[in-house]
Symmetry: C3
Subunit: 176 residues, 3 copies
């Protein structure tokens, strides 16, 4: 176990690191606030979000918007009955009704990959707070994003979410 | 949905971003350790903390110190009976007795607002670990701080905590 | 409560802050992925990990590797019966079997201590996601690391984990 260098990728500069942090600090509150059009403007036109294992991939702002409008719900509405993410898609249920959800990111690793592309890897967990104040957490995930710079601004081109539970899509979303 | 710039505020420099991170990394452990006087020295003399919705606003180090001394408790003492934040204030109960609480911040967005003022927005969740090792979480929140620089040092001038549950003040604080 | 400077240590530069963040973002996923040899290569040869209060200290890559191989388990195996961390050591049980564990760090405070040494303090919580998607959390901790730079690379020389529950080692690890 020799002390050779572990780093085989270009070192990210502090300015770029902070820019990426601030990008996510602008992007994710839009999704949490259900500002779906504004959120999708932080992705490229062909941007995609994929859930693994055994999940689905949605590509392009229109497809993403349709799915999010149908699923993201409204915190002012009552909680839905117990349902899984997969069943919510099958039966067209807005399974985030009645919930304020927040994404918690950690361990962000940033690797420049060409002049205008970044590979960003982080772990994420989603908290859900209901109107009564109950807090629950979805299973942990690891996320791999590709960010691209267009006319000076960062955009998410693709997001691959790998869930730590293979049963993530079939478990009850927010058990009581 | 055109790819126009989303940024209408000055870009924070990496040095400032890190200074703010380190400010919070000094400030919040003081509150967690119940070093209340030292914590309040990280706020301006007229500093305020407000809880929304349906909460209260305390302003000035003396008012904050009186409230915190009465409420922040001691992790060495037994847990109190089940009580809400509002009732703890009404009946003068140190509802953090028996608990180590820790603040978890994420998604910190920093905007310079004038030469010596910063607007900082982040989400926060409080964990509570009791002596037996039970962990619970208070409802999630979004926090908006105004930081000011005085003689080169950062201070919190105001903190507004918006709780994600409208019932936050009336729910049992740390249900068994 | 005068507004004197709270800072008595050298200010960390943005570049160093980011380098430390990226160090942990490389280091900790190795432990989570049970890449134990690779994880230990991010520590010095004599690196140590100590758990307080009432815990144990392991020093040197060989001792750490033996302990981790015996305890860190395999997420593909079934969950073990309910057991504490102390009993898992006594009865040689891989008490992380059946679990994906992730470390969440926050409030990282970095202080240069000499030319090639850093003192890093942060709070940490471990999430555990089982195959069914159940999420639980271990009691919160405060961690103090000493990092050293050797041939340009950062390594952990020592890690002291102070658990917020004095009963941490004797509580059931992942209660059902």
């Amino acid at each position: 176990m020799s002390q050779v260098s572990h780093r085989t990728v270009p070192r990210v500069t502090a300015e770029l690191y902070v820019e990426v942090q601030q990008f996510y600090a602008r992007q994710m509150p839009l999704l949490e606030a259900r500002k779906l059009v504004e959120f999708l403007e932080t992705m490229t036109e062909d941007g995609s979000i994929e859930h693994r294992p055994g999940g689905w991939k949605l590509a392009g702002r229109q497809q993403l918007l349709a799915e999010m409008r149908a699923r993201r719900g409204d915190p002012e509405r009552p909680l839905v009955e117990e349902i899984s993410a997969r069943d919510a898609r099958e039966h067209d249920v807005a399974y985030y009704d009645g919930l304020v959800y927040r994404y918690w990111f950690d361990r962000m690793h940033i690797e420049p990959a060409g002049e205008d592309t970044l590979h960003v890897r982080y772990q994420a967990i989603v908290s859900m707070t209901d109107a009564a104040g109950k807090v629950s957490f979805e299973p942990t995930t690891v996320v791999e994003d590709v960010l691209v710079r267009i006319d000076g601004e960062l955009y998410t081109r693709s997001r691959v979410v790998t869930h730590d539970s293979p049963a993530w899509a079939d478990k009850i979303h927010n058990p009581s």
